[in-house]
Structures are given as C-alpha cells and as structure tokens.
Symmetry: C2
Subunit: 174 residues, 2 copies
DNA sequence: GAAATTACGTCAGCCATGTTGACATATTAC
DNA sequence: GTAATATGTCAACATGGCTGACGTAATTTC
C-alpha cells in the first residue's frame, strides 16, 4: 500500500520514481525547500517593517525594470488591491518609483530606486547564495533536472510566458 | 552585467550554471512552481472553509500517523498558538483525532479520522498528479536532480531529519 | 467627437494565518 | 516535592490574501 497507488491499478507498470512514496517525497521537498528558502529574506524584511509580499514586488520590478502594474499582477497572481497596498508603501518609502508609459500614458511603469536596488540586492543575495551552493554541490546535470521538473510543475498556460521571460530577460535591460 | 555577478570578481571562474542569470532563474522557478502547486488544493479547501495551513497539518499528520504536537511544530516551524488554532478546528470538525501517548501521557498523538483521510487523499491527489506528470515528462535523471537540488536548498540542520523521515517513512505505518 | 474600454487607484471590510506574551494543567523527571 | 516538559488557551496585533464598489485618466472604437 505504501509503494504503489492503484485506484485503477494503472500505475503499476510505471517507472520506479512514480511510486506514491516518491511523489510524496517530491511534495515534501518542495515544502521544506520553500520554507527555508524564504526564511532569511523574511528576517531582513521584518526589521524594515516589510513582508514577503514586498520582497516579491521588489524582486520582479528589479528583474523587469519598467514593468507595468498589470504585468506584475499577472506574475504574482494576486488582486490589484493586494498589490496596491504593497506597492504604494514601497513607492512612499522610496524603494520604487513610477513613470508614465511613453506609448500609453495610462500605464505606470515601475522601477527600483537606488534604495530599492540596494534592498533588492541584500534580499536576493541570501537566496542567490543558497541556490548557488545547492547548484554547486549538486552539479550541472542535477541543475538541469531541477529546472526541468520545476518547469513541469507550473501551469501549462504559464509555462510559455515564463520561458519567454527567462530566455529574454538577458537582453531586457533598462 | 547580466551574465556574471562580480562584487569581488570571484565568480568569474565558476561553472556556467552559476551565472547570476541562472541563479535568478532558479529562484523564479521555485516561486512559480510553488505558486501553481498550491493553487488547486487551495481551491478545494476554500469550499470547506479551510486554508493552506489546514492542508499542511492534515498532510503531515496523514504522513506520520501518531505524530506528536511538538514534532508537527518542528516540521511546520510555526508557533504552537498558530498550530493550535488550525488543529483544534480540524479536531472539532472531525478530520483529526487525538489520543494520549502510551509512554508519555502528556503527549497528544495525532491521527486522521476516516473523514480526514478522505480529505487528505482528495487534496494530495491533485499535487501527486501534478508531480507525477512533471516527473514522467522529465525522466528519472531529472527527478534525481530535482531532489538533489531541493535537498540542498534546505537548512543544513534540517536536512538530516528530513532524510531520516523520507527514508524511514515507508516502514513507519500506524 | 461621443461612447466604451482599459489601466490604474482607492475605500471599506472580511478572513486566514502568522506573531508575542502571559498563564494554566497535566505529567514526567530529578 | 520541585522543576521541567508537553500541551492548551486567552488576548491582541500584523501581514497579506480576498470581495465589492466606485473614480479618473487615457485610449480605442465606431
């Protein structure tokens, strides 16, 4: 009962890594990794009176300078009201600045201020170091597998957008 | 500027997958995967008036039948007050039952009721299917890499406990 | 050029889930 | 018998989701 899930007896012929036990391991690893991955930035943010939601906003604005509010909403998948709370605080405290869109002046293009970049670096450093260590210890092949599986966990509709992001982001500077 | 992070110029000699761009990709994949991974169970839970915190409790109690409150706290890394709220609701609504520890009668060993098991199956099914599909599409080698890297992301102190969990859980039934 | 749509913002209130701090009760350990 | 441990509880607070309603400016459509 612990090794094969068989509501239809159908998975019996599947590869060994699809046993119920292994799938649960996959679930738990994701939980534990996420739990610890967020803990360091959370501690830094707490001292500044900010939270994880601020981190996410800062991160993606830093990543995609000049991003619009709608685009950011599509990434975070939260309501505009939730984002607004976070964003207006970040603007008010000088981490993010807005400028009207050139082609479409309704848009408020978002970018980090120097202060924002500073915080972004500080927050991301801990996570980058953590990832770098894990990558280094696991090796190139494992990294490829990590990417492949995580990408497969993402909703299909989203996957394309993200792939475009990831590939295109090197040139999308400024 | 986009391909090598060099505050000390030190990372230049490192393998290709340690470029800033790749590390950020690793960060983002984790964010996106987690975001989508939790969305389906969240929707089910919402209909029952429960939340993600309930899911976590149910999941780990199901996984480790007879777990103590302290052990559960150590896994979730939240305060006992936070857990208590969730747990007492789950007990009251008949998803979880408690029995005093045999050796130590201060302990309240936790286990799922039939109703709890039912819900656990329902919640975990969506995630298990998601993982299974991703695993299948990525292949055995990628799965090994996924595990390796995620394990590397976990705090060192925790890693051992978790490894013990993961290995030992097949025999820890009832 | 008027009307509809879009991008964004805001007010108000609700809920889930995390936190701290203080205190209570059983049980076990020394 | 006293101290420590396992658990629970009350109260108050913060964060960050949510819904619903409404407002403004700019763009698009006809």
């Amino acid at each position: 009962m612990a090794d094969v899930i068989s509501p239809g007896g159908k998975l019996a012929a599947n590869p060994i890594f699809l046993r119920d036990e292994d799938l649960r391991q996959g679930i738990e690893l994701l939980f534990y990794a996420y739990r610890d991955f967020t803990s360091e930035p959370d501690a830094i943010l707490a001292k500044l009176g900010l939270g994880r939601a601020h981190h996410r906003a800062i991160y993606f604005v830093g990543r995609h300078a000049g991003i619009t509010v709608s685009e950011l909403l599509a990434i975070l998948k939260i309501t505009k009201q939730s984002l607004s709370r976070v964003l207006s605080q970040l603007v008010q405290e000088g981490y993010i600045q807005q400028r009207p869109g050139k082609r479409d002046r309704r848009q408020r293009l978002l970018e980090l201020t120097e202060k924002g970049k500073e915080l972004e670096r500080q927050l991301t450093r801990t996570q980058r170091e953590r990832i770098a260590r894990a990558y280094r210890e696991a090796g190139a092949e494992a990294v490829a597998g990590y990417r492949k599986v995580l990408l497969g966990l993402i909703d299909e509709t989203e996957r394309r957008k993200i792939l475009a992001h990831l590939d295109g982001s090197a040139k999308a500077s400024g």
